[in-house]
């Protein structure tokens, strides 16, 4: 009896803590949404209130391009984010599954060396690459262009490593059967092996898109014209001062919400793959 009473009490305490933490984790998003529908003054003074008073759509008019202040161009930045993230995702999934397959299964001369290089580049932190990459873009004449934003990050060592791990889990007998049936290396890869690692491909697709969509530091050094800004660089230059004019909290919060929405949707639809990818990427090294 005493034991049951104690476990009951424990459970109530556990629930109370969980709910408190959940509130702490979700409240910033609730405040972000509510305040994007306020007037500038209301948001600055009544930041804690979840009810806009008066409710204003002026921030959203600017974000959606209905009214224009001549400084921000969110529709274009949204388009840039979508374009760049999509192209980076497609190419990184394709190139990483090619290279990952070769490193997992094809016995070519120099494989150990190539794999060693991939492992070495895994350890290079992105922030250290800002000046080097800017330098290279300048040298190649790709600075302030779309190809310059895409090419340097269109495949990642992490992606190659992850795909290799997925391919290693495929039974060798499957490929051998295909080869005996007369299929070439490319056909075997495309028709037989790739379909088997589909969950891995989805995981890498989600992670690549999330990474490219959220990327900021690299784009900040790769371009200079606002017409090439993505949502992250555009927003950062408004918040950080470059394009700033006053507090404008509703505009900034609305824009940050717009940046969050696609990833949130992706997250809720493909949560299972995201969670798995996080663990695959970091635990198996």
């Amino acid at each position: 009896m005493i034991n049951r009473y104690r476990s009951m009490r424990l459970r109530v305490v556990a629930y109370a803590m969980l709910v408190a933490f959940a509130l702490l984790y979700l409240a910033p998003f609730a405040l972000q949404i509510a305040n994007s529908f306020k007037s500038d003054g209301d948001a600055s003074v009544n930041g804690l209130s979840l009810v806009p008073h008066p409710a204003k759509l002026s921030a959203w008019d600017q974000i959606l391009g209905i009214s224009n202040n001549g400084v921000t161009d969110f529709p274009r930045w949204l388009f840039n984010s979508a374009l760049v993230a999509t192209l980076i995702t497609i190419s990184s999934v394709f190139l990483a599954s090619l290279a990952g397959y070769a490193l997992a299964r094809l016995e070519f001369r120099g494989r150990r060396l190539v794999f060693g290089l991939v492992i070495a580049t895994l350890a290079v932190p992105g922030v250290v690459l800002l000046i080097p990459r800017f330098l290279m873009l300048k040298q190649l004449g790709l600075f302030n262009t779309y190809p310059g934003m895409i090419l340097p990050i269109c495949v990642s060592a992490t992606g190659i490593f992850m795909m290799r791990q997925f391919f290693l889990q495929v039974p060798v007998a499957l490929e051998e059967a295909a080869r005996i049936d007369g299929a070439g290396v490319f056909t075997t890869w495309w028709r037989v092996v790739l379909p088997v690692v589909r969950p891995g491909l989805i995981t890498l697709t989600i992670l690549s898109f999330q990474g490219a969509w959220n990327e900021f530091a690299f784009f900040q050094v790769a371009v200079i014209s606002p017409k090439y800004f993505t949502l992250t660089t555009g927003l950062a230059n408004i918040v950080g001062g470059g394009l700033s004019a006053g507090n404008q909290y509703p505009l900034k919060l609305g824009a940050s919400l717009l940046t969050t929405i696609p990833i949130a949707v992706l997250f809720f639809v493909f949560q299972r793959y995201l969670v798995r990818g996080r663990l695959e990427g970091s635990l198996k090294q």
């Binding site: 424990l10 556990a14 803590m17 969980l18 933490f21 959940a22 405040l31 003074v45 009544n46 930041g47 804690l48 190139l95 290279a99 070769a102 490193l103 094809l106 016995e107 070519f108 001369r109 190539v114 290089l117 492992i119 580049t121 932190p125 992105g126 250290v128 800002l130 000046i131 080097p132 800017f134 330098l135 290279m136 090419l151 340097p152 495949v155 190659i160 490593f161 080869r179 890869w189 900021f216 530091a217 900040q220 050094v221 949502l231 992250t232 927003l235 950062a236 918040v239 001062g241 824009a255 940050s256 919400l257 940046t259 990833i263 949130a264 809720f268 995201l274 663990l279 635990l283 198996k284």
Partner: protein
Amino acid sequence: MTTDPLSDEPAIPNTKGRATPDSSRRRKHRRSPLKRGHNLFGWIFVSPALAILIIFLVIPIILALYISFTNWSGITSPFASAVHFVGLQNYKTIITEPGLGQTNFGTAVRNNFYYVLFVVPLQTALALWLAILVNNKFLKGKSFFRTAFYFPSVTSSIAITTVFIFLFSGAGAVNRVLGLFGITGPNWLYDQNGIITSILASLGLHSAPSWTNFQILGLSLWDWFSGPSLGMCVIIILAIWTTSGTFMLFFLAALQNISEEAEEASEIDGATPWQRFRYVTLPMLRPIVLLVATLGFIGTWQVFDQSFLTGPNNPTMVTPAFLAYQVSFSNFAFGEGAAIAFTLFGLIVVLTLLQRKFVKEDLTK
């Protein structure tokens, strides 16, 4: 978990003793028609990715290393005649020679040091705490809570930092909540006083004692021991809030691997929940705690986005990663910026190697 990534290659039947690696490989290829074309297709498959990594990663790093020994301004070509080789001058400017360069670098290292000092233990502890709460087998709505805790970490750091700047603004939500308790909140993001300095001041110690005048990296000991500013505390809270969800997943995966038998056995032995946690669960989680802590140590030295948004208004929120950017792209001293980036790189490499060593040692125990 594979400790050596090079060791798990597919087993190759090797009937005869190996001669030289080269001749055995050639024989192997001739023997197995299934492996025909591996050499050619192997290279075709890796070439595109390899080319990208070499052109946009390996070569740029070598170029930038060269730049860190020059006075390049970022405007002309780095090989133009106006660009001079200056030897170790850029490294001296930030590390050994008294001056603004050294003070700025020292300040950035100090700022980031306190960030690491607070974020790593707190995010590890919070992640473990959340994982244990969510892992409770009697719990309903488990996936809701897991989702809620993990969600912040998938969002854009620029977007989420923007939200935090709003929450911690002068009349923002946080200060409103503090106001409910009769506390007048500070102007968080503009506050530059270290919290330790502030505490000492409230105890009556207002000026630095003379023994703290000793300088390291252009900062006196007094400045080194100032603690993080309130502005930096906002970024620290933000980091703990966003990353604990990711690391919670690591702990959750590990907790699910701990056999229920071990737990039940200890339960029957009459252990209290705390004893069970302390003597059964925690020792089994040790490798993951180590992994999370060391991943944290590496990640926390790379703060850039948050510093980009707040650093220009508050020097106590500038990190070395952002300083390298600022010195290069605002002051056009790319040589000095590259020197900062490579010093940071060196630090991170050392930490990575230490991590590999510790985690590996712990796993082989």
